[in-house]
Symmetry: C2
Subunit: 313 residues, 2 copies
């Protein structure tokens, strides 16, 4: 594919186009991903998550500046499971792109809902691969950390930053959503607001409760809008990176990720091929009607379907 | 199974035990579900969702009282994707059960995280079936509406209530999470706080923007703690129920649900059988290592796996 060659030669237009192809599940996607794969695995992945309004975008913008000053090229994937009703992702994308339009070391891409969150999560991971093959040193994945799927997206990163605010009860909500477990670094943003010290103390206490050996996530007060504390965040990220690399954790995490990726692809192939086979051989309407009228239970109906397509396992 | 017969005779102990069996994926689960299935489909399902702190539990408690006054028996499934770290679901369960301990027309069950949110969603739907077979007239499914999986759970209900509060920015967050689309009735709880009229107006405006024919979701101010507006909510629920039943929507929604259920069971069977076949024949370690070292791409690796187990599709 020509576009892949252009990507390898450093074309930003090819980068944008390939991400679009991948996002839209273009028939050529598999071929593209296979050709890019040998060139991936070099970028360092940073996940950033937090509630809506925690100030993730401002933080990412400041982190971009910090990374550029330290000589790294950066790709950003901002995942926004916005309802298709609003279409906010695209607008935000354009505004943010304009700010960095003159810096060819930065590439920002937003992604909105694609039918299902599972699809969004897959598209985001594939966009990471494309940026990785393009040669970005760092790739930041930014998501609104409200649901399991978003946590899954960020969970594939090498270092994960959880952004909290001092505003009432936010830290408690975060624990509920299971975000506490995935944070390698915690940021208490808007630290100029009242109550930030208490939030820092609360989160630290919770982290101490877990008593796990190894990396103890730092809890950093930050005022992203003024850039305060962002240099310390950058230092913490580089420290976590060194920690992972020196202890062999970097490799084991990537092996884990490879296993998960293989598993998901197997399931994706299996499901789509089985459905194709069912669709070409059997009309489901009758079976569904029988279930809706409680004439047949869905368990025996599912087994019957697999028998009828001669599913051999 | 004896416990199924006891359930049919109205034993609350059998109800509790069967839900536990189903929740724990007991080997007898499939048999249980098959035997219960012919007795299901009679209960009316109400989904209630909203952000943490919106006051869902208080609202459900008031709605329970209202439903009992109107002669209905009620089952409640409170889905709380709490981190296993806290275990809040069980505690909350006990407290709430005590309040209604003397009323045999009420059965409350909380569910926490079961490994994955997909698993939680399945367990919740199966618990609904058990309560339905037990003979509950109404079943309320209460979830924290923060992620797609929770929306999926509530989305299986006949009538879905979205609970908002006047507190700053909540309505905007809600639209982001895609909750706007699933609400049949909107409740602005804590309506005694300032700003509730504005929230009611904002949500009404958004609903009008959609310009869909048919049911226009009412937006109801409620003070759950004092029981204000709960009778109106009950009326709205009964009206929505009549609307669904008179227009044939009730049947078409249930057919949709049957189709989704069949689809999920087919995929579940297919995936688990394929993995079993892979696990007994192939060691994945080498393949995963090859992917982690970028020697083989995961796409060709997935196809290779399926070839090696002679996957015929």
């Amino acid at each position: 594919m020509e576009t892949v060659q252009e990507l390898m030669r450093g074309s930003r237009r090819a980068l944008a186009r390939l991400i679009t192809l991948v996002e839209n599940n273009d028939p050529r996607k598999e071929e593209i991903m296979e050709r890019l794969f040998p060139h991936t695995g070099k970028a360092y992945l940073i996940g950033i998550t937090g509630s809506p309004g925690a100030g993730k975008s401002s933080l990412v913008d400041r982190l971009l500046a910090e990374a550029r000053q330290n000589g790294s090229t950066v790709g950003v994937i901002a995942v926004d499971p916005t309802s298709p009703f609003t279409g906010g992702a695209i607008l935000g994308d354009r505004i943010r792109m304009q700010e960095h339009a003159l810096d060819s070391g930065i590439f920002i891409r937003s992604m909105g809902t694609r039918g299902s969150l599972g699809g969004l999560s897959r598209a985001a991971r594939e966009a990471v691969q494309v940026m990785d093959a393009f040669g970005k040193d760092l790739i930041i994945i930014e998501t609104v950390g409200v649901g399991q799927s978003e946590i899954d997206i960020v969970g594939t990163a090498d270092s994960t930053v959880v952004v909290l605010t001092p505003a009432g009860g936010d830290s408690v909500q975060t624990i509920k959503a299971g975000i506490m477990e995935i944070g390698d670094i915690f940021v208490v943003n808007k630290a100029d607001l009242g109550g930030s010290e208490r939030t820092v103390a609360e989160v630290s206490m919770m982290l101490d409760l877990k008593e796990e050996p190894g990396w103890r996530p730092p809890v950093l007060p930050v005022v992203a809008l003024r850039g305060e504390g962002v240099a310390a965040l950058w230092q913490a990220l580089m420290e976590h990176r060194r920690y992972l690399q020196s202890g062999g954790l970097f490799e084991s995490r990537r092996r884990e990720r490879a296993g998960r990726e293989l598993g998901e692809l197997v399931e994706f192939l299996v499901k789509s091929r089985v459905w194709e086979s069912i669709r070409t051989q059997i009309s489901l309407d009758e079976l569904i009607e029988a279930i809706a009228l409680r004439r047949q239970d869905p368990y025996s109906a599912a087994r019957e379907l697999l028998r009828r397509i001669n599913f051999p396992f």
